[in-house]
């Protein structure tokens, strides 16, 4: 299922599952990721699943590229049925203080904000991966009419909780961070909680996310 395994530096395997971004390829990545986690292979010290790649880092004091590669090639991969998937609802307020880029989107996409909300809220999005900053989910796929480019000049500070769109993807900024996604609203929900060491992420790869629109009062009533 892995198309090619190469080395990324001297202490990681770069597993290539293809070049496209779709649920089918990403599910394969997630199956490998979860299978390796389950096997608890000595020497592996990190795994990074993404749209269509899986990077496996290892401790060069214990193992090397060839030995880990062999173990991955002989791995027992769990099948799709064994994948857990949660459905998570994320409330989002689109008050003008939060929807920083809605005007820009209306202009670039040539549709009204109501149409944008209609096509965004209540739809099921698949979580391809989490990361860049702790807990940030990369969700998809947006309809063609919602697909916009990144900001030409990224913001120095995107507020925590911001919900952004870029190309066929949506995300949530779990921390204040620099970023170039088109911000349409803000969620009061805690998406990453470092005090929950066993499960700090609300949204994990393979999960399904549904965004729900809330008003300002509801936003401030959710105290997380």
């Amino acid at each position: 299922m892995i198309k090619n395994i190469s080395n990324l530096g001297d202490a990681a395997l770069y597993c290539d599952f293809g070049t496209e971004v779709n649920k089918e390829i990403n599910s394969k990545v997630i199956r490998y990721f979860k299978s390796i986690q389950k096997e608890n292979i000595d020497g592996i010290n990190n795994l990074t699943p993404s749209y269509n790649k899986l990077i496996i880092s290892f401790d060069l004091r214990k193992k090397n590229f060839q030995t880990i590669k062999q173990q991955i090639e002989n791995l027992n991969v769990i099948n799709d049925d064994a994948l857990e998937s949660n459905k998570i609802k994320i409330p989002v307020c689109c008050d003008e203080n939060f929807s920083l880029d809605i005007k820009r989107l209306e202009e670039n996409l040539q549709i009204t904000r109501d149409k944008i909300y209609e096509k965004f809220f209540g739809k099921e999005f698949f979580c391809y991966m989490t990361g860049f900053i702790a807990g940030m989910p990369f969700l998809g796929d947006l309809e063609n009419e919602l697909q916009a480019k990144r900001l030409e000049t990224p913001r120095v500070k995107v507020p925590k909780g911001s919900v952004g769109l870029t190309e066929q993807f949506a995300n949530v900024y779990t921390f204040e961070s620099p970023g170039g996604w088109n911000i349409i609203g803000n969620t009061p929900k805690v998406i990453f909680d470092s005090t929950k060491e066993n499960n700090p992420n609300l949204i994990n790869p393979g999960d399904v996310v549904i965004f729900e629109q809330i008003n300002k009062d509801q936003y401030y009533n959710i105290n997380e």
Partner: protein
């Protein structure tokens, strides 16, 4: 029992608690973090009789000024660091790679790192810090680790417990060598770059930009031209990965890097050269030398043996 503690009179520029960091969290967006220069970190602990993975205070450029209160304690500083110990009656300039004793009321003034970036302060006891995922290492981006995931600040107190009563002096003869040739393995997107770009990366000099920190090191120099696509579908990153964004200036990922990125990877710094890489100061010149995987593995074995050998001499 009286508490033993440091009062922070001056925090310094980038002073954080660090140990060897935390693994197995890339998939949720958390990098290893940990001491930037792992060799110097380990040596500092060994010089005060600790296990090598005890929490230490890492500082960069200007270090902290600390006033000590409590029973006698040993400390050691590693790196290339200028520091002064001020006692009631006199002040002495300290040497790195050697343990010293602090008495109640003494001040330790870590003035600066010399032509290097990071230094380490270890004490013969345990800093009272909180751990997350078994590590105290501070990640200021996600506020994870000791000190609520924040840098050490002016005026705060740092408590120390379990002071080792057997305060024997320790010393290591070691000088930090500097390298300007950093060895690199070709990256997974090497073919995204023009023939000229491929030559530039391994033949030309780059200068380290001021915009460098624990997350990444930016380089300036001849532009590396991309002929395929200046973006890739976002995928995992590692420390040591050299990305080249659209502007053609390479960025090297360091210990607090973002876990996912969308710029093509032209190369990866070999594990054996990482400790030396992070010590290069802004304005320094840097040149990359291409090596193959097998060589990188051997070079790391040698480097690790050398580190183990240094530790065993203490």
């Amino acid at each position: 029992m009286n508490k033993n503690y440091f009062e922070i009179k001056r925090a310094g520029i980038n002073t954080t608690f660090q140990d060897q960091g935390r693994g197995n969290l890339y998939h949720i967006g958390i990098p290893f973090s940990g001491a930037m220069d792992n060799r110097n970190f380990q040596i500092s602990n060994k010089l005060v009789g600790n296990e090598v993975n005890f929490p230490t205070i890492e500082f960069a450029f200007q270090g902290p000024l600390l006033k000590y209160f409590g029973e006698n304690i040993n400390f050691a500083i590693t790196g290339d660091v200028k520091f002064i110990i001020r006692k009631k009656s006199n002040a002495i300039e300290g040497d790195c790679y050697q343990s010293f004793t602090l008495e109640n009321g003494d001040e330790l003034d870590i003035i600066s790192t010399n032509k290097s970036v990071y230094g380490y302060l270890a004490v013969s006891g345990e800093f009272e810090v909180n751990y997350q995922w078994s590590s105290c290492s501070v990640n200021t981006k996600a506020n994870i680790g000791a000190n609520n995931g924040k840098k050490i600040e002016d005026g705060q107190k740092i408590y120390i417990s379990n002071i080792n009563k057997n305060l024997s002096d320790k010393k290591l003869n070691y000088i930090n060598t500097k390298i300007e040739n950093i060895r690199v393995i070709q990256g997974t997107n090497f073919d995204y770059f023009s023939d000229e770009g491929k030559k530039i990366i391994f033949e030309k000099e780059f200068v380290i930009s001021k915009l460098s920190d624990r997350m990444g090191m930016r380089l300036e120099g001849p532009k590396i031209e991309n002929i395929v696509d200046t973006n890739i579908k976002s995928e995992g990153l590692l420390k040591g990965v050299i990305q080249v964004p659209a502007d053609g200036n390479p960025i090297i990922m360091l210990s607090d890097h973002g876990t996912i990125g969308g710029y093509p990877k032209i190369g990866v710094v070999i594990s054996a050269d990482y400790d030396k890489l992070v010590q290069l100061t802004p304005g320094s010149k840097i040149k990359f030398k291409k090596v193959e995987l097998a060589d990188a593995e051997t070079l790391f074995k040698l480097y690790d043996l050398e580190t183990q050998n240094l530790i065993s001499q203490i």
